[in-house]
Structure formats: structure tokens, C-alpha cells
Symmetry: C2
Subunit: 322 residues, 2 copies
């Protein structure tokens, strides 16, 4: 059986988008449900997801483990896996990891762009690595089955997390910096260490992570995937599109500024380009998986490898979570 | 006018202790009201302090600025200044700094022993310095008038804070490491930079910060003060006793472990000595200020210098806060 998985989306969720994901044939989507929310605020987010599940039960359901990806395939639905892009919901309390796992959380970034209580984000000047609390949290995430996601973390912190974690970790949405040296993209050394430890890289389709941004070509993206496969093999590469469909620009402003600064920060954007960037025309939404399928074959991947990148590799990774 | 100030106590507060502080002639005490509490939990702590103020209005009142130290002296009371030993009450929200200031907070440590969102604590392996959020917070603390306290912070973070802050900072309770190389004590370089920037060092009487612990002699302590004065002058030295009178050992366990670890940590203690250490017999409580007065004179300080160390230096520092 082949699976199609997008391992990162943060859309302004609606029935329309769930339909698009079904049209794209996605059997599973890892959805970001938290940026800066604390534990109480998380409860509100989960309530609104319960409404989505109720109102769209013909299209989606909450995924708990890899078997739900198989189930989704059989039922022509999309399994939704919850994830956090920051560790804010666990606050300073290690006991909350088990709680958020019970509530469906399967991926948690140890940091967003800034320093967290657990590790250093990629927008900090210095990176002190995984902290005392971070070590305890990684152990507990391993125990209960929440994947450590280092997409927005700094390099030493990520290497520390790989070393400390007894289970493979993930970079759910980023690209290699050899292709485009964005702060959020990752070095070859890091990607090799990640893959050697069984970790996954989800290639991002977010314009700020792409060479030539919105004008990035399908060919350039797929050549990057081929070069990445030369470096780390084909088995540890997937897709984490970082699609933010229908989100107003106020959301990206909140993602960047939260409540931590009084002076506006532009993150990956700039004063002249403060909002969400446009998607490249060959990946306007998840239906672009079809273009990826063609494009990846064109640069030399065989069918098996393409199926791996477009979903099977993530499926096998999910098998190891619990 | 001469003032007596103990710039750090965390006692199990009762009328008995407020009386002892009056007997010791303390015109002001900076009291720790927070270790791990968040903003909501802080509200409960403040409620219990309001009860203390009401029931002991003949002995104590809430201090807002240096004028309340003068008022306390005239009225034979002790002005109580609130402080936090961690930044947990401001959570991830810069707007809460103004709120906690309104509620009386005048000192806030950027870290307790572990990494915080603002800086690195002295028990971490690596120190990345003041973070992005930390820079914003220091600006805001300067603006509203909350003193940056780096007693439990790592060295680079402390040097960063001194550099970033437009106002002098404080190390309210620690000793020089030349005398006793505890993790919590401070290097000569750091103390020089602190004093050169107008910052204050409050010498600690907590056994874990003392050479020979509980058996430390008054003479040894006062000789340390004299040597410190040789290095940084006499004007930037005060007392921050770190007295924890009548606290059960469960409190020091909570201070060290909070909710961040499932494996018990002993901090400055050890498995065999997990509780609060005993005070040296010449400083069982604040009435030991009398012994300090004698002891400091004995090692060569003149009366003016002793009065500075026992309170006037802190009084002048308070003058610059707002």
C-alpha cells in the first residue's frame, strides 16, 4: 500500500481545505495546532478541532498512530495528527507531556524561533543546546510517544536532541541550506546526523524556505531533493509543506511577535514584505503533490523512491513512534 | 541618617519573624515572593502578603521606593520590597512586567538555576547569554523600574545583562568565588564589571554560599568582605542574607525541582544533605547584623563603610531605581 502524507500544514481550517487535502489524496496530515498557546489556551484549540471532526467526519478524523493512516486510506479520509510548533503548552511542567499526548499531540518542537525552556531557536544569536529541563522533557517525550521536532531550532540544540533522544527525531518542515541559506534551513552535517539516527526531514514548500522564493521552479525544487538524497539517502526524506492556506497576514505577525516584544519583528519577512509569501504556482495547495510526483520522477527518482518521499517514508517513521 | 537593609530573605513569614527583623533594626527587607509561580499563582501570593500587611501593620508595610525606607526608619517599621527569584510570573508576555511592577515587584531575577526564556541559569552546562526575549524584557524592566537581579544566573548572561541594561543591576545574594567556589558565587571579573556599572552585590549568609558552610566564622566572612572591597570598593557591597527562617525542607526541595523533573535534584545540597543547611551561630537570623557590625569593624572597615555595607549602599541603589 502507498500512502500520501503532508507532515506539516497550518491552514485556516475549513471544510474547503479538508476537501482539497482529500482531492490531493492525502491519507495523513500533521497539523500545527499551537504556536504560543499555553496549556489552557490549548484546550480551546482542541475544542475547535473537535468541532471540525464532528462537522467533517466524512473527510477527517483524529489520528493516534500509524494504523490510522492505513484506516484513512481504506476509508478515503485524512487522518489528522496534532503537533505543536513550540513547547508553550507544557509550560514548566513535565507532567503535562503525558496530558498533551493523551489529547492527541504527536509532534512537539522544542523551540519556535526564540530560546525556550528546553533549547535554542534558530533566531537566537547564541545556541547553548538542550537545557536541563530539555533533557528531562526529551526522556518523557520518548516515553509517552511524542516526536521531537527541531524544525525551528538552532544547530547545536538539534544535534543535542538527536544525541539525547532514544528515538529518531524529525525536522518536519525545512530545506537544506546548500540549496538556499535561509536561517530556517539545515546544514549537510546536521542532515546526515539526522538521517543516520533514523530521523526524517520534511521538505518545505513555504516560499521563504525556497530558492527564488515564490518564483522557485518545480525543477529546482526536485533537483534539490535529488541532491539531498545523494547526501542522506532517499528513505529519510518526506514532505512537510508548511502550507498556511487562507491565513490572514495578522496570523504570521502573531507567529513572529507573540507577546514577547513591543517592537515589531519581521522574522523571515521584511518591512516591505511583512505578510505570508505567495506559494509557487506548482504548489498552491496540497494538489501540488501531483506535480511533485512528476517532477521527482523527471530528476531521476524511481517510482518506489517517489512514493517514499510523498508519504511512505513518513508512514514508516510513524510506525516507530509508539 | 543610616539605614539597615537586608536585601534578600525568603522566610516562612509570621509575626514572629517580622518582630525579629524589627529587633535587628531592619528598615527594609527585599523579600522573595516567587520562585516558580506563574502570573495567576502570583496573585495568591500577593493576597497572602496583603493579609500579613493588615495583621502586622505596626511592624511592616509594602515599600514602593526609597522614600519608604526613610518612612520605615521614622515609624520604626520595616518596608517590605517584593522580588521574584525567577521570571515565571511574566510568562511569555512582556506586558506583564508593567503589571507586576504595579503590584509591587521591584526586583526580578532573569533566571533561577535553569535556563529561562530570558537568560541562562548557573546550573546549566552552557550559557548562551541574554535571549531575544530577554533583551526586550530588560528594556521594559528599565522603563517601569524593576531591578534586574542575576544572583542565580550564569556568567555570560550576567555580563550581557549588565551591558544591555541602561540602569545598574543587582546580584542580591551571592558571594565571591575567590573565597568559596560554589556554583552560585561570582568571579572577580564579573564583580568588577558589576561595580563599575554601579551595580550592587548583596553578600549572602546562606551556608551553601559560605566557606566552611555552617561552620564559617564571622572573621572569615568579614575578611572576605574586606578582600571584596579591595577588588570592587566599598560602595557597591551590601547584605542579601538569603535567610529562609522556619521553612520546612519540602520548600527547598520544591525550589530545586519545581515541576520540571521527575528525578529528584539536590541543587546545592546532596543526597545526604537534602534539606536547608543550618545558619552559622553568629547569624541565626537578622539580629546577626549586630555581629556583622562588630566583625566588619574588626577587619578594618571604618564606621561609614560599615554603615554603607549594612544598609546605606542599598538605600542609595534604591534611589536610582525609578
Amino acid at each position: 500500500m502507498n500512502f500520501k502524507i503532508d507532515n506539516l500544514q497550518y491552514c485556516n481550517w475549513s471544510r474547503e481545505i479538508f476537501k482539497i487535502n482529500r482531492e490531493a489524496g492525502l491519507d495523513a496530515v500533521h497539523v500545527t495546532i499551537v504556536y504560543h498557546e499555553d496549556f489552557d489556551e490549548l484546550q480551546n484549540v482542541i475544542s475547535s478541532w473537535n468541532k471540525h471532526f464532528k462537522e467533517n467526519s466524512d473527510l477527517i478524523f483524529l489520528g493516534n498512530n500509524f494504523k490510522d493512516i492505513e484506516k484513512a486510506k481504506l476509508e478515503n479520509k485524512t487522518a489528522i495528527f496534532f503537533g505543536f510548533q513550540n513547547c508553550s503548552p507544557i509550560e514548566d511542567n513535565i507532567a503535562l507531556i503525558e496530558k498533551v499526548h493523551e489529547q492527541g499531540c504527536r509532534f512537539m518542537q522544542l523551540t519556535y524561533n526564540n530560546q525556550s525552556l528546553l533549547a535554542t531557536g534558530c533566531y537566537e544569536k547564541n545556541d547553548s543546546g538542550v537545557t536541563n529541563f530539555g533533557r528531562e522533557v526529551i526522556k518523557e517525550m520518548n516515553r509517552v510517544g511524542v516526536v521531537i521536532d527541531m524544525s525551528h531550532s538552532a544547530e547545536k540544540s538539534t544535534l543535542d536532541a538527536i544525541e539525547i533522544s532514544e528515538k529518531p527525531i524529525a525536522i518536519t518542515h525545512a530545506n537544506p541550506s546548500f540549496w538556499y541559506a535561509a536561517k530556517r534551513n539545515k546544514s549537510n552535517d546536521l542532515l546526515k546526523t539526522l538521517a543516520n539516527s533514523g530521523g526524517m526531514l520534511g521538505l518545505s514548500l513555504y516560499a521563504h524556505h525556497l530558492k527564488d522564493s515564490t518564483n522557485c521552479t518545480l525543477r529546482s525544487f526536485c533537483e534539490m531533493a535529488a541532491k539531498t538524497a545523494e547526501i542522506i539517502g532517499t528513505k529519510n526524506i518526506g514532505i512537510g509543506s508548511d502550507l498556511c492556506l487562507n491565513q490572514p497576514d495578522s496570523v504570521v505577525e502573531w507567529m513572529r511577535n507573540g507577546t514577547w516584544t513591543k517592537v515589531k519583528k519581521y522574522g523571515e519577512g521584511s518591512k516591505n514584505k511583512p505578510g505570508f509569501p505567495k506559494q509557487p504556482d506548482w504548489f498552491l495547495d496540497a494538489r501540488g503533490f501531483k506535480n511533485l510526483d512528476m517532477g521527482l520522477k523527471k530528476v531521476g527518482f524511481n517510482e518506489n523512491e517517489v512514493n517514499g518521499i510523498l508519504g511512505n517514508n513518513w508512514y514508516h517513521f510513524y510506525k516507530g513512534i509508539n
